[in-house]
Amino acid sequence: MFGLLARRLAAALPTLAGVIVVTFLMTRALPGDPAAYFAGPAATREAVEEIRRQLGLDQPLWVQFGDYLADLARGDLGLSITTGQPVLADIAQRLPASAELTLIGLLIAAGFGVPMGVAAALRPNSWVDHLCRVIATAGVSLPTFFTGLLLVYVFYYQLGWAPAPLGRLDAFSSPPPQVTGFYLIDSLLAGDIETFTGAAAQLALPALTLGIFALAPIARMTRGSMLSVLSSDFIRAARAAGLSGNTIVIRYALRNALLPVVTTLGMVLSFLLGANVLVEKVFAWPGIGSYAIEALIASDYAPVQGFVMAMAILYVALNLVIDLAYQAIDPRVRIEA
């Protein structure tokens, strides 16, 4: 187990090196002059040049890259020109917000998608199957910002069930003492039920938006996988042994059918990380998606690089978790590893 972890982490190193090089080059190649932006519209040419020198942007590219690497090695991702904060601190503060949103979104998607897929597979071409297909197709067809706005319109503006879409907590609550950075967990750890319900209420609509988006791939994958498992020899043998319907569907079929679904989750997560950016905008969610967009618009290199790095690390970590989950389900993989 430990050996596998070490090997997988080692295998991720070239990926991360690639990400470092590409993000560095890409942000330099983008149009826009950060020195000019930072200096402001009223600055003189000399002032802009001065700032350019301060930022090290007058150096040759390879020198800039060397500086960048040296900073990285020290855990310094640079300063954000827009917020004036170290990028690492910004990301550390905002990443939990995005992670909480994405994971809850995924949980909603899996929580509805897997049962939907199972129900559809048990009665293929029945009305249940068609209903699941319609819901899944609609979910994936609507752009997330539109679903988000629709939910806000219905549940906040019309029905008044949801709080205003203004971030992780309403203005009158203070965040729980930080342990994990996930408000839902931290508030429970602090025993603060009021903050917990407040955070959950804020989280409901954006997480639902992401969940609806990710429902389709999970439901479709579960359905297809269940159908093929249900027609396999060992299911027929289990029926020949007279096992009960529940045992056959859940313990025999579903556990086997989940293997490809777990693999799909990795892909779905990467979709979600992308979709996050727009959803954070709609719900004024203080996550790293909106942070990166603002930085990109301002030609603020350091946060964009930091963002891409954080995403790459997150992605590598998630895939590792998925590999471990796969092993927990499938004994055949355990042996090979």
Binding site: D233, F234, R239, A241, R332
Partner: protein, 322 residues
């Protein structure tokens, strides 16, 4: 026979709806199995042996339709029984072992647990006792170190071992009838004999009836009290093994014997059966589905109905038997 048979299949017909037409997989087949009796069902691939087995188990897939007939098992009308009754019956009174032993086991569940699942379902025992009995069953089917093997997954065991697990699952609740669908086909030759010995031995000890489905007439005559010969969805001959072996009456049975290798017979003397099975999707299937391959065919063979004559306990479906 004074006692009613354990299983009786009467006039059973089964069709499959496929995109390219209706396959008449079984047509008016009848046979019976008495308590404790071992009956072989023999025929080449596509003759309807497995369809017969799955129909008796009521495990046919949705494309299949039972168009006529009656299946009685221990006094129960199997075709009229509801799903709950059938699930209670399967694994307890009526079990099955399969052609591909490894694929017939759940790949990601420990084999001991898979045996215990059946016991938990049918034997009215708790989890602990089910686990203990699973280990005992593993020992009974001749698996060395049973308590260690109970924790193994199917992929860690050989094909022969997997078939032993399949047998343990099938026999866990002491069924009255075991249907063995080509149980040794996927195994190597040395394992085949031991698996068959195991089935015969455990079957005899339990007074269990066995329906042995095989394409190997030699195996059937060696192991069975009676042999039912199937061809293209018909039962063409049904006779006690000794009588069948001494003098096959249906031309197809005779051909099968001639095509079966046995000691003292040179390879060049083993004949093949000309032609293939007729396309069972045809609307104009002849009454005798063997007629196009038969060298004893007469004009009468093309006139319906196909005679099914029972004489001295053996059935022959032929106009011109040997």
């Amino acid at each position: 026979m004074s006692q009613p048979p354990l299983l009786s299949v009467e006039d059973l017909s089964v069709e499959f709806r496929t995109r390219s037409g209706t396959v008449r997989a079984l047509e008016a087949i009848s046979f019976a199995i008495a308590r404790g009796e071992t009956v072989g069902v023999v025929g080449e691939s596509g003759s309807g042996k497995s369809v017969t087995a799955y129909t008796v188990m009521r495990l046919l897939d949705d494309a299949a339709r039972i168009t006529s007939g009656r299946i009685m098992f221990g006094g129960l009308d199997m075709l009229g029984a509801d799903a709950g009754t059938l699930a209670e019956l399967r694994g307890r009174e009526l079990s099955m072992i399969f052609q591909n032993p490894r694929a017939s086991l759940n790949p990601i569940r420990r084999v001991g647990q898979q045996i215990a699942d059946v016991l938990l379902r049918h034997a009215n025992v708790g989890a602990k006792e089910a686990g203990e009995r699973a280990v005992a069953l593993l020992a009974e089917v001749g698996i060395p170190e049973p308590s260690r093997r109970a924790k193994a997954y199917p992929f860690e065991l050989s094909g022969g071992m997997c078939q032993r697990i399949g047998i343990a699952i099938a026999l866990a609740c002491r069924p009255a009838l075991l249907i063995a669908d080509e149980p040794t086909t996927g195994l190597d030759v040395t394992t085949q004999a031991t698996i068959m010995d195991l089935v015969s031995e455990l079957g005899r000890a339990r007074g269990m009836a066995t329906m042995l489905i095989t394409h190997d007439l030699g195996l059937a005559t060696e192991r069975c009290d009676r042999v039912v010969v199937m061809h293209a969805g018909h039962v063409v001959e049904d006779a006690p093994t000794a009588a069948l072996f001494a003098a096959p009456r249906h031309p197809y049975t005779a051909r099968l014997f001639a095509a079966t290798p046995r000691p003292g017979l040179a390879l060049s003397e083993i004949s093949t059966i000309p032609g293939g099975l007729p396309d069972l999707r045809r609307d104009d299937l002849p009454p005798c589905r063997f007629s196009t391959r038969c060298d004893r065919r007469r004009d009468a063979c093309d006139a319906p109905p196909l005679p099914r004559v029972t004489h001295q306990g053996r059935l022959v479906a032929c106009h011109n038997p040997l």
